[in-house]
Every structure is written in C-alpha cells, then in structure tokens.
C-alpha cells in the first residue's frame, strides 16, 4: 500500500500501458476489456488513498525526477512529486474515473467502438495523473495538452456525426487559445526564474517584480480559463456535450475542466504576488458563475443544463481563488466533482432509459427510474447547497470567503446560487415529476449503471464533512461553519427550490409561464446571450475568410504556381530534347563516334588552344 505513495509514477505508466493493452486485446476479450481498463483508475485511486494515509501520518511520499532536456546550459527536469494537493486530486480523479468506467460498461454496451472508448479513457486517466503528479510546470503542460487531446478524441467519439466532429474541433481550438496563454506564462517564468519545477519556482515567486508577477499570473490564468471554461473561453463546453455522457461526467465536469482550478492552486504563490491578477480571476469567476447560471435556466437539453451548471460552479471556484482562498476552491472542486459526476451519470441513465436528451420529452421518470431519481435528487440538493450534503459545506465556505473579501462579488455569487437552486429544480421537476411526455416506455438502467450512481450519491452526501480534513491535507486549517452565511445560503436555496417546484409543479413543461414573465429575455438566454454567434461572426468568420483568401492567392497562385511552373518548364524542355531520341541505334552510335572524334581532336589541340587564349601554360 505504501509502495503506491512512494511510486506515484505508476498512475501514469500503468494507464498508458493499459491503453495500448486494451486497444490490442479488444478483439480477443470483447466487452471484458472494460474490466481490464478499470485497473487504470484503480491504480490512481489506490495511489491517492495511499498518499493521503502517508501524508495524514506525517510522512512525505517519495518523489523522483530525471533530466529531460539538457542543452546549451539549460536543463529541464521531469519528475513526480506528491503532496496533499496531489493526493486530493488523485482521489477525485481515481474515484470518478472508476465510477465512470463501471457506468460505461452499461451505457456503451451496444457501442461498436467499445474498445476504442475504453482505451481512450485509460489514456485520459494517465494524462490527467501526469498533469497532477508533475513536479513542475513543464510536466504539467505535457499532461495539460494530453488531456486536451483525449478530450478532443472523446468529444468526437461519434466522429461520423458532423456536430460531434465540429464540437471536438471547437473544444480543441478554444482551449488552444488558453494553452497559448499558459505557454507564454511558462516562458515568462522561465526567463525570470530560470526554472519551471515547483521546488525552485514557488519559493522565489514572492520576489518577482510586481509587473512580471501580474503578467505571469494573468497568462497562467488565461490557460486555466480556457481549460476550465471561464468567460470568454467557455463556449466549447456546452458543445462538448456531443460526446458520450459518461465522458462528459469524467472530463467535462469532474476532472479535466477542474485542471484550471488545480493549476492556479498549484502555483498559488505566483498569484499571491499579484493582487491585480487575483482581482481579475475573482471578477471572471463571479461573472461566469452568474451568467452561466442564467443560461442554464433556459436550456431544454438536460446535458446543456448540466454543462452551464458546470461552467457556473467552476466560476464559483475561480471566485474563491480570486478571493485568495485556494484551499476552499479545491474543497469545492472535490465536492463538485462528486455531485456533478453523479448528475451527469444520472442524466446518462435518463438518456439511456428514454432515448432522448430533451427535457420536454421527459417527465414522470421518478416512477419508471426510482434509483436514478433518488440519486439525481441527492445530487441536485448537493448542487443547490442544501445541508448536510456536500455542496452545502463547500459552497458556504466559497460564499463566505468571497463575501468577506469583496462584497459585490459575494452578492453576485449569492444570486448565482439562488439561480442554481432554481434551474436544477426546474430540470428535476421536468424530468422526474408529472407524467411521461415522450414516446415508448422508459426503463430503469441495470445494476452496472445503478451502482456508480449509488456510490457517487453516498460520496456527494457525506463528502462535505471531510472539509476539515481536506483543509488540513492542503496545509490549511479546518474552517468553522459560518453560521450567518450558512443560514442565508440555505435559506436562499430552500426558497428557490420551493419556487422552482411551484413553477414546475406538475412537471408539465411550463416554461411558457416563466417565458411570459421573462418576455424577450427568454430566447436570449436559450441562445446563451448570443455570445457563440458573436464569436462566430467576429472571430471565426474573419479568420476563415482570411485563411481561404490565403489559400486562393498565396497557396494556389504563389506556392503552387512555383511548383507547377517548375514542372511545366521541365516538361517543355523534355518535349524539345526528346526529338533527339530517334530510337535508331545507329543514330546513337554516330553521336558516340562524333563525340569521340571531337574529344580526341580537342585533347590533341588542347595545349595549343590554351596557349592561343593565353591562360595557363
């Protein structure tokens, strides 16, 4: 057991090996490859538990590193390092990935690409571990790009569907914008400090010049915002819902999108050195939390509701980071991973049972799908922040931290959490209350899908009580419950849950009622304020127009013109020269003889010619 804590590299090596093994053995093992693949998240989970026990027992887990790049007086090392933050991330990633894989056995049972799916999940698990256990920003960046690539591959899992392929490209390109920021931040830190490993970098972060620290922190924050789908780089996440639902649960709710929060927490000293960057992060987080929550109100696709909810909750985490409370942000990350993965898997179960993602075609599922309904409600209450579920504790701490650092942002977050309670109640009522509005008969999912739901529901119910332990694990101290904040936020949650239940009382799709109250705002919310369309017309269309112009002129005319011109010239020369090829052997012989005679005469006359011209002697 302790071996895992000291050899955390296994969480990267084993999943990568398994990804290959799964891909190779898929034909032989058939559906059983899923159980082979589960060794990957299991190794991560065991390492997380082992590392947690070691750290809680006052022992430092082993670490290692090797020289990766060495050139002209600079050297970049790669290695692994395990501390409390890493242990927490490994626990979250391992648990969610394991549950998602178990769930997928049922959800993807009919899928022709079963083997590819599980191989990619293994690859993702290993990449995420690489991101987490890296002992420096260089290693983190590799894992960062690898999870992005896995995300691309899994969003586009059904790549024959044009929407899925387009969503994959959109996710890849949008996060790439953030990744450029991250890379520039890395380069800046490299120039200023000359090292990228945390052990060297973080202690000297406080001595950076204020301007440098601000620019570096902002660039790192841009990377985090791209990965964590914060405004204005959030547009890829709702589209990413084209991927299989368990993938959404794992990558686009619990782990990869939380990597941005992890990154900021990891390099916290850099942000600590720059109050300006903290303010930006706080503003972005609070704004995103509220804006995404309003959009989630008006979505009719159950997965889109959860997608905007994820963006909103990540906004909460960013706001907490901006308020300087990175430990609280990590606490919310952990609880959010549990209940949002639960909600996504629950929506997967619903989609599996009804064959639709459209809330308008659901309803009355509580009777048909009791296990899904109960676990969904637990997840919803946790999201809304009802005590004593996990979301209550972490959201309470986030609200308190933000409120006490910046009341305006705090008020925004209170509003966002009110909307959170409302939109999740709306989704719950539309899906599970009233009578069924779709066609066919919805059915409960099998045990292989129910078990992960129950496990995650249990975690989502009790994880909040681990807040103190998590704080200690991360090197902080356990926070007391802030009674005023708790009372206010619980009150808000209860009131808005009741309001939601009232509006959608019979589970009828009564959006028309809300619609008439919101008036012209309703379709605007449905279109997510048209930001997507704005990006399409302001950025995407000019870029594609410019690129097609480049293609038509520079590529087709200049480059292809040069290449084709060369070919044309050779062709014409050949046309002229080929007339000498008579195909008559005696013509060739005559040329040989003529050439010989000319050379012979020249060789005799040479001295005389040279002497006549006057060069040499």
């Amino acid at each position: 057991m302790t071996w895992f804590a000291d050899n955390a590299w296994i969480t990267v090596a084993l999943p990568f090996v398994l990804a290959v093994a799964v891909a190779i053995s898929g034909r032989v093992l058939g559906r059983a490859v899923a159980w082979l693949a589960m060794l990957a998240p299991l190794s991560v989970l065991v390492t997380g538990v082992s590392a947690y026990l070691a750290i809680a027992g006052g022992r430092t887990p082993g670490e290692g590193s090797f020289e990766w790049i060495s050139s002209a007086g600079m050297s970049i090392s790669a290695g692994w390092h395990v501390d409390g933050l890493v242990a927490l991330m490994l626990l979250v990633v391992g648990l969610v990935a394991l549950m998602v894989m178990v769930f997928s056995v049922g959800y993807m049972a009919e899928e022709p690409g079963f083997t590819r799916y599980f191989a990619l999940l293994c690859l993702f698990t290993g990449s995420m571990s690489a991101l987490v256990i890296a002992d420096g920003l260089a290693g983190l960046f590799i894992g960062w790009e690898l999870v992005g690539a896995c995300s691309y591959l899994l969003i586009g899992f059904w790549f024959t569907k044009p929407e899925a392929a387009a969503a994959a490209v959109k996710a890849f390109l949008t996060t790439r914008v953030g990744d450029i920021g991250l890379l520039l931040g890395l380069l800046l830190l490299w120039r200023e400090v000359g090292a990228l490993d945390y052990a060297t970098l973080l202690p000297v972060a406080a001595q950076l010049a204020p301007g440098v620290a601000t620019v570096a922190a902002l660039l790192l924050a841009v990377g985090a915002m791209g990965k964590s789908a914060q405004f204005p780089l959030h547009i890829w996440l709702p589209d990413a819902m084209e991927g299989p639902t368990p993938v959404s649960a794992l990558i686009h709710a619990a782990t990869m999108v939380a990597a941005g929060v992890f990154l900021v927490s990891r390099v916290w000293p850099v942000f600590e050195a720059s109050p300006a960057a903290q303010t930006v992060v706080l503003a972005v987080g609070a704004f995103t939390a509220l804006a995404a929550a309003t959009i989630a109100l008006a979505q009719s696709d159950i997965k889109k509701v959860l997608a905007y909810s994820t963006i909103s909750q990540l906004g909460f985490m960013f706001a907490a980071l901006g308020a300087g409370a990175w430990i609280i942000a990590m606490f919310h990350l952990a609880t959010h991973a549990a209940f949002k993965a639960l909600l996504f898997l629950g929506s997967g179960s619903v989609i599996h049972g009804t064959g639709t993602q459209d809330l308008r075609k659901m309803g009355g599922l509580a009777k048909a799908m009791p296990v899904t309904a109960v676990t969904w409600v637990i997840g919803s209450l946790a999201l809304a922040g009802v005590p004593p579920l996990a979301g209550f504790f972490s959201k309470d701490e986030v609200l308190h931290a933000v409120w006490s650092s910046q009341p305006i942002a705090g008020a925004v977050l209170f509003a966002a959490s009110a909307l959170t309670a409302f939109y999740i109640t709306r989704a719950t009522m539309l899906a599970f209350a009233g009578s069924y509005r779709g066609s066919g008969h919805p059915h409960e999912s099998g045990p292989v899908m129910a078990v992960p739901l129950v496990v995650l529901a249990a975690v989502a119910a009790v994880a909040g009580f681990g807040g103190g332990r998590i704080a200690v694990l991360l090197g902080g101290h356990a926070e007391k419950l802030h009674l005023t904040t708790a009372a206010v936020s619980t009150g808000i949650a209860v009131v808005f849950i009741a309001l939601g239940a009232l509006v959608y009382k019979r589970g009828v799709f009564a959006d028309s009622a809300l619609e008439s109250k919101l008036g012209p705002l309703w379709p605007v919310l449905g279109r997510a304020y048209g930001f997507d369309a704005l990006v399409a017309s302001v950025i995407v269309r000019p870029v594609t127009t410019f690129c097609s112009w480049l293609y038509r002129t520079v590529d087709r005319v200049v480059i292809d013109g040069a290449a084709e011109g060369t070919a044309w010239l050779a062709n014409r020369t050949g046309d002229v020269l080929r007339r000498m090829q008579m195909g008559d052997v005696q013509w060739y012989s005559s040329l040989v003889v003529t050439g010989f005679i000319v050379l012979f005469v020249l060789s005799i006359m040479w001295q005389r010619i040279v002497g006549f011209v006057g060069v040499g002697g």
Partner: protein, 104 residues
C-alpha cells in the same frame, strides 16, 4: 609500319559498316571486323620491337593480347547472334530501323 595503315583502313571501313548497314547481321559482321582490325594491330606490334616495348617490356605479350581478342570476338559473336536469333523469333525483325521502341 604499313600494317598500322592497314588496320586503320580496316577499322574505318568496319566503323562505316556499323553506322550504315541496316541489317543486324551486317552490323554484327562489321563489329567483328573492327575487332579483327584491332587483333591485326596487336599481331603486327608483336613483330615490331621498337613500338612494342613502349606498350609492354616483352613483345610476345602483345601476341597474347591478340589471342585474347580473338577469343573475345568469338564469344561476342556467339552472344550477338544468339540475341539476334531470339529477337527474330520473338518479333520477326532483323533490321535496325525496324527496332525503334525507345524513340522519344
């Protein structure tokens, strides 16, 4: 040194034949004639010590070269005629102006 003039005349006539004869048998015969002229040159040289010593220390060596040339000519003629027979059987062509596959 009259034999050198004889070989030069012989070689030139043979070259003219190689370049102008249109039937392959004639071309082959002309080539044999070229080799024959070269052989004759070496035979003549072996009798003429003054020139021969500039080529090889022992004049009898040039006689050996002449023998080798005769064997080579015989082998070449055998191969050339065999090719000619194979070509005639396969394509029924025996004239150089009929064989123009590599014309550009």
């Amino acid at each position: 040194m009259n034999f050198i003039v004889v070989t030069m005349v012989l070689f030139s006539l043979a070259l003219y034949g190689v370049l102008t004869r249109r039937d392959i048998v004639g071309v082959l015969a002309s080539i044999e004639m070229m080799l024959g002229s070269a052989t004759l040159l070496f035979v003549g040289l072996s009798r003429t010590t003054t020139v021969a010593t500039t080529i090889t220390p022992d004049p009898t060596h040039t006689g050996a070269i002449a023998l080798i040339l005769m064997v080579t000519a015989a082998a070449g003629a055998a191969v050339g005629l065999a090719l000619l027979v194979a070509l005639a059987r396969k394509t029924a062509r025996t004239r150089t102006d009929e064989i123009t596959e590599v014309k550009g």
